[in-house]
Amino acid sequence: MFFAIMGPGIITQSVDNDAGGITTYSLAGANFGYALLWTMIPVTIALYVVQEMASRLGVVTGKGLADLIRERFGVRTTVLVMLVLIVADFGNTLAEFSGLAAGGELFGITKYLFVPIGAITVWLLVVRGTYRSTERIFLGASAFYVCYVISGVLARPDWGVVLRASVVPSFSFKADYLLMFVGVIGTTIAPWMQFYLQSTVVEKGIGAKDYGYTRADVLIGTLVTDVVAWFIIVACGATIFVHHIRVETAKDAALALVPLAGRYAAALFGIGLINASLFSASVLPLATSHYVCEALGFEAGVDRTARQAPVFYGLYVVLIAGACAVVLLPNAPLLRILFLSQVANGVLLPFILIFMLLLVNQKRLMGGYTNSAPFNIVAWVTTIAMIVLTLALVVTQIVPFGG
């Protein structure tokens, strides 16, 4: 029954809570306590607005985002956007395999064994077409996030402080804070999600009639993701931050689950991390190859042979093998990779948002379904805020400010 009501919105959000997401929220709580909790409310609003736009574009036009960008803005723009997407998603793929490596290490399995096995598993799941049947297992295992909710409660944070921190904004121009800020937004509102959600809406053939349902689905997905994110930050703030532990490895990040799982916290965290990584690694690189090929007119799809769709398979292999190669470098800083890939998502997000906004406001394309003024305001503010934050980030890297 649960699976029957799961729409594109909820599925997209489940893939979104990937290894990069868990890590970024964990680091946010572990390094800054509750200082970033207030971002959750504006981020949730922005996420809903952006995702609603993506699904509306899909419902009204019946086309994917990459297709629309190609048809409305031509080859040059498309190539630029696709490059942005490839860079962001290479980062995400890196994050998924780092998550696998870190998860394996929690069980004492060396990454030199675990990552290649993970890559082969992903390949088989996808190319053998068994992914559809495993999707439910992944989704079911996503219930792991409930652990953070329970652990957050069991950690007995000072709820007064937590709630205050959730609604009262605070800000700092320190480079670390800005980096984390961009990372949190980047992992919550990732560029690939907009492509993925819109394609899923199109594939399901959702028409304007059922749109109300999809809107609810997107809203639920958004809320669930951000409630989970909020609890991860709270749990880490109440456990890791208060003890001034510097999070260097996945083992440290797992401490947030100690109030719930005690000495099994590392194992629980490991399973969650591995599941999230495998899930997203099965979806993301493949989806990326699809969008790029469809937009540029190359054949795509796992029902083609490598000879029929060389660009599709080539890009897919490069994404996976490249990510594995980086992760397998000796002493690769796994958590750092996980986190920085999400910052990259945040930095690249405005590129995608601008084109979405231009598309969704085209009367000829959308008819009566163009953006309302509040939606435009929220989306443009998000876009501009991300650009400003990125610039601020660059500046602080050059000129240490107040640090």
Partner: protein, 472 residues
């Protein structure tokens, strides 16, 4: 040779030589011409109003722009006609169907040929070369590849082999789409359907006749079937479902939301609607859920001659003719008559004398795997489904089951890699009818006779089949 990408944004001069605007788009009349003429220009300044300058006003055209034969102030514009298409807006960068290679392709550029002042569309450029041209990298990259001894191919599809779908549907546009798609095998159309966008799918399914549309839908993936039925106007969807085999229609309807399924069934012709509703009652993953109620049941009192006369009168489907089931007065299955016996027996022979009575059948609640096992083990093209009272309820054909089994076991590759050349060759050989070249399955196998085809089944299966005997 001119390309649309070279003309866009080029200056337009009037008779006085004043370059007053730029080319935003070119217009073609989407008619029956193989290589349509450009009928008008849309200037950047007129883009929002879609005001077209008729092509008669053109004095000269080249890669550096267009010169008009009139002065700017004497120019008259007209609105876009219903059957006119804007090349850049509606075709450039969009998907079209390559009706020769049977692929959905994206148009990177449009090739134009100039005869005097007349300009015609001659091809859709879908190759990598045109992609590079749009990026301004063609000379460089093409040069590199040439030096490597592997020059980049052109990748131009002649315009007469291009089918443009999507956009506004006019009667003329639909009839052209129908003409372009008519020689493509329904199974190939189903593959194309899967790759098209929503509007293009709707246009394809609208352009095709009810019967072809139904065949195409039968061949499509279940996910595509449901979305297509959801996307089509309700009346049309009901018409297509009506033409589909009842078990296929039931499969599609079973995947739809209940209210939608009921709505569609209520619009179907009464007999068909009843049959489909009945099939919908059965659990989908059983013999009864997969069976078709279209089969040939002959009263046991008939003679060979009467059977032949009846078959000639009723034109049964190619799917169902291979087995002629014999029933008694209570519709209970008593035997099966092979085509072989039908042909070699004297006309006056009662069929009860030549039919086989040692039957392989399955019960309505048998699992799909068991049914598949029975078909595989006994090399059957179809297996009858018999209720506990002995009544013949329907048959499950190997054809219907095969699609489902391949899906379950994820072997879409089997279809994806199928040799296009062979299909194309058969299309060419067959001339107008792609079906003519399709090899019919051997028709004279009895239910337990030889092999039904080249398919060497190796899958082990242990079906629960009631007392199979070898024929004597």
């Amino acid at each position: 040779m001119l390309y649309l990408s070279q003309l866009i944004s080029r200056p337009v001069q009037d008779a006085t030589g004043d370059a007053f605007d730029r080319i935003a788009d070119l217009v073609i009349y989407h008619g029956t011409e193989k290589f349509p003429k450009i009928t008008g220009i849309l200037l950047s300044g007129d883009r929002s109003r879609v005001a077209i300058i008729p092509w008669d006003a053109v004095a000269a055209v080249s890669a550096s722009g267009i010169r008009l034969r009139v002065e700017r102030r004497h120019l008259t514009t007209r609105p876009l006609q219903p059957d006119e298409v804007l090349l850049r807006d509606n075709i450039f960068d969009c998907q079209v169907v390559d009706t020769d290679d049977l692929k959905v392709v994206r148009v990177n550029d449009i090739e134009l040929r100039q005869v005097g002042t007349e300009l015609r569309v001659v091809g859709a450029d879908v190759g990598t070369r045109s992609l590079l041209r749009r990026l301004g990298l063609e000379p460089f990259v093409a040069g590199v590849f040439e030096r490597l001894g592997r020059p980049l191919p052109q990748g131009v599809i002649p315009w007469n082999l291009v089918a443009v779908l999507g956009g506004t549907m006019t009667p003329l546009k639909l009839s052209i789409a129908r003409a372009k798609l008519k020689d493509i095998h329904p199974a190939d159309l189903a593959d194309l359907l899967e790759e098209l966008d929503r509007d293009e799918r709707v246009e394809m399914m609208t352009a095709l006749g009810d019967e072809t549309a139904a065949e195409v839908l039968e061949e499509a993936q279940p996910a595509v079937q449901t979305t297509v039925i959801q996307e089509l106007p309700t009346e049309r969807a009901a018409d297509v479902l009506e033409e589909m085999a009842p078990e296929e229609a039931a499969d599609v309807l079973g995947e739809l939301p209940e209210h939608r399924a009921d709505e569609l069934i209520s619009l179907m012709e009464e007999g068909k609607a009843e049959e489909v509703s009945r099939l919908l009652e059965y659990p989908p993953e059983t013999a009864a859920g997969k069976m078709t109620t279209e089969f040939i049941a002959l009263p046991e009192t008939m003679t060979i001659e009467q059977v032949l006369a009846r078959l000639r009168g009723t034109h049964p489907d190619d799917q169902t003719i291979y087995y002629l089931y014999v029933v008694d007065a209570q519709e209970r299955l008593v035997g099966v008559l092979s085509i072989r016996s039908l042909i070699i027996s004297p006309p006056q022979t009662p069929i009860s004398q030549v039919m086989r009575t040692d039957l392989v059948y399955v019960e309505p609640d048998a699992s799909v795997d068991d049914v598949a096992g029975a078909l595989v083990k006994y090399d059957l093209l179809a297996v009858p489904v018999v209720e506990s009272g002995g009544r013949l309820a329907g048959i499950v054909t190997v054809d219907h089951l095969l699609d489902r089994l391949l899906e379950t076991y994820g072997s879409r590759k089997l279809g994806g890699g199928v040799d296009l050349l062979r299909r194309k060759a058969s299309r060419d050989a067959a001339g107008t009818s792609p079906l003519a070249a399709a090899a019919p399955p051997q028709a004279d196998n009895g239910p337990q006779g030889g092999s039904p085809g080249r398919d060497a089944h190796t899958r082990a299966a242990g079906p629960e089949v009631d007392t199979p005997h070898r024929p004597t």
